[in-house]
């Protein structure tokens, strides 16, 4: 574990300060690249392959999850040779259903845990929640941090909690959701990223998707830079998952540009970068079909998750 391998943990209260104007300016530059034709097609296929197809609703049923799993394995059979998505993201109670539906397709099952989305529960409940998801077969666990404790300055609490959940995960990869929409400033996003990575996160993730604003390019840039600094310091790669609010292919391609230019090509695969999204997949599929046929597409001709 990363934390164990370090001789001394940094003082999180002196995490680097972020220049908000600079970050926003830099992030907007990534949207100015022109990506056309073959590069666009390769980008679209990569985006599709990086999606964590997500359903996190109170009204989820077994049937809905099975349908989503089918979509994950067969995004659009009219176009042969498409990649599958990276993972299905569900509540712990749906892990078993998803695992069975996905079979040996190679698609991962990610489960949110730790009293998602608020995280307002005692630690033992969160640990049981996590263990339940892992025992049901989850390959990945998406936890939320305790934002209230974080705002109160109890960084040790947040750190210990993440470390405890990491331990409960066992073999499963841990994604730590910062819920940047509730953190307020880039300084706090950076600090929370540093805490999560040092405490053992395999991925850091922007949002639950339940709070606005969710993922934005500037906030993702702040987190990518935190990952880069952590990598230079420890040699350990951490994954990134922006989630919520990314529903258009063009925006997704901008994110890929950002990842490439901040972290490099090592991160440009679904082992290290994911999109948490539900409606992005169909938009990507529509763009792929548009590129192949030359005809603008309509949502009616694509399966509703």
């Amino acid at each position: 574990m990363a934390a164990g391998s370090l001789t001394m943990l940094p003082d999180f209260s002196i995490s680097p300060r972020i220049d908000q104007v600079g970050v926003e300016e830099r992030a907007s530059r990534f949207t100015k690249r022109s990506i056309k034709k073959e590069a666009k097609m390769n980008g679209l296929l990569l985006v599709l392959n990086m999606i964590d197809l997500t359903t996190l609703e109170g009204k989820d049923t077994d049937g809905k999850v099975k349908q989503l799993c089918y979509k994950a394995m067969h995004p659009h059979d009219a176009v042969p040779g498409l990649p599958t998505v990276a993972a299905i993201c569900v509540y712990p109670s749906m892990v078993k259903v998803a695992k069975k539906a996905l079979g040996d397709s190679g698609i991962k099952v990610a489960s949110v845990a730790t009293a998602f989305p608020s995280g307002q529960a005692p630690r033992d409940v969160k640990i049981r929640d996590t263990k339940y998801a892992v025992n049901e077969g989850a390959d990945e666990v998406d936890m939320v941090i305790s934002r209230g404790k974080f705002h109160a300055g109890e960084y040790n609490f947040v750190f210990d909690e993440i470390a405890a959940i990491k331990e409960a995960c066992g073999e499963a990869r841990l994604k730590v959701i910062l819920e940047t929409g509730e953190l307020g400033t880039f300084d706090k996003v950076r600090r929370a990223s540093d805490i999560a990575m040092h405490a053992g996160a395999d991925f850091i993730k922007t949002s639950t998707g339940k709070i606005q604003p969710a993922a934005t390019m500037p906030v993702t840039l702040v987190m990518l830079e935190a990952i880069r600094d952590f990598y230079y310091k420890t040699g350990k790669m951490i994954g990134m998952k922006p989630a919520g609010g990314i529903s258009k292919s063009k925006l997704a391609l901008h994110y890929l540009v950002m990842v490439k230019e901040v972290l490099g090509e090592d991160w440009l695969n679904n082992e290290w970068f994911r999109f948490g999204a539900s409606s992005l997949a169909n938009d990507v599929l529509m763009q792929i079909v548009k590129e192949k046929t030359g005809v603008y597409q309509a949502a009616n001709y694509f399966s509703v998750d």
Binding site: V295, Y296, Q297, A298, A299, N300, Y301
Partner: protein, 317 residues
């Protein structure tokens, strides 16, 4: 736009001392003709423009030369506006069409002026504007009445209440008539939106002024953004996109160009679009307005509603 006028003001010294003289000639503020998408007036994303000229060789304006991507964006707006517009009470749609006529009446002088610039005589321009206003009123009236005329209750053998009603088909792409640049435009848009559809319209290429001004009328007449989207540009460049977009449900074309018509027939087959050619309609005559124009972009929905077979009540419906 286009030309630069250098306005010189001069200073001269009179016997009484320093006296400032200003030129009486002022810089004319020329209007920028922009396109209309989703209730906004953006410039074309392509940044291109063209300059239509009238018969006398006078440059009319710099007009946006829209691209396929403007069309793509317009279809997204039209699709987004569809559920709201088709879901409105038909009576309310009638009110809004009437309001459009009122706003057009208020800007009559401007439309007449633009038509004259585009080679019409004063008398013809006045007639065209008056007819355009009347045509909006005509379709405003039909908004909540054509349904009764074209619906039916159908006699069936089983115990069902069976009825058919017209419903709007969805997003309609329209290549407006080239010649009657205001009356023709209004005559093709009004029946489409009266029936609850939304549309993307390509204005007359050579006479685009009225179309853009009409978009300003629409924008100030309670018509929700996205219901009518107005592009300017070349049909030769855009027709194929208008007709093969999968998210467009019907296309209207008004020219006699048989080669283009054939191409449109082929491309429209891709998603079984309704394709309508108004290449023989005289918009000035009585045949230029009819509820059948509304029906050209309607679908008939038939419903079989089970009813209890009441003993002795007999068949029928």
């Amino acid at each position: 736009m286009g030309k630069t006028i250098i306005n010189k003001s001069s200073l001269s010294i009179s016997e009484n001392g320093l006296e400032k003289k200003t030129s009486s000639k002022r810089l004319e503020v020329l209007k920028t003709y922009k396109i209309y998408i989703g209730g906004q007036f953006p410039r074309t994303e392509s940044g291109r423009y063209y300059i239509p000229v009238n018969a006398a060789g006078k440059k009319l304006a710099n007009v946006c030369l829209s691209s396929r991507k403007d069309f793509r964006d317009a279809v997204v707006s039209a699709r987004g506006a569809f559920s709201g517009w088709s879901g409105r009470a038909a009576f309310n749609r009638g009110q809004i069409l009437y309001r459009m006529a009122e706003m057009l009446e208020g800007r009559k002088a401007q439309f007449i002026d633009e038509l004259i610039q585009q080679d019409a005589t004063k008398a013809k321009a006045e007639k065209e504007v008056n007819l355009a206003i009347d045509r909006l009123i005509y379709y405003a009236g039909w908004c909540d009445k054509f349904q009764q005329l074209f619906s039916s209750v159908n006699p069936v053998a089983t115990s069902h209440f069976n009825f058919s009603v017209p419903e709007p088909t969805g997003v309609v792409s329209i290549i407006a008539p080239q010649d009657d640049s205001l009356l023709g435009l209004v005559s093709v848009i009004a029946p489409v939106i009266a029936g609850g559809n939304t549309c993307v319209v390509l204005a007359s290429e050579t006479k685009p002024l009225c179309a853009v001004t009409f978009a300003e009328v629409l924008n100030s007449s309670d018509l929700p953004g996205g219901v009518v989207n107005m592009l300017t540009g070349k049909p030769s460049e855009l027709v194929s996109w208008f007709v093969d977009h999968m998210d467009v449900n019907a296309t209207i074309y008004c020219e006699k160009d048989s080669i283009t018509q054939k191409m449109m027939r082929e491309k429209s087959a891709l998603n079984l679009k309704r394709l309508t050619f108004y290449d023989k309609v005289n918009w000035y005559s009585e045949e230029g307005q009819s509820p059948y124009f509304i029906m050209d972009t309607q679908e008939i929905k038939t419903t079989w509603h089970p009813v209890e077979n009441i003993a002795g009540a007999g068949g029928g419906y």
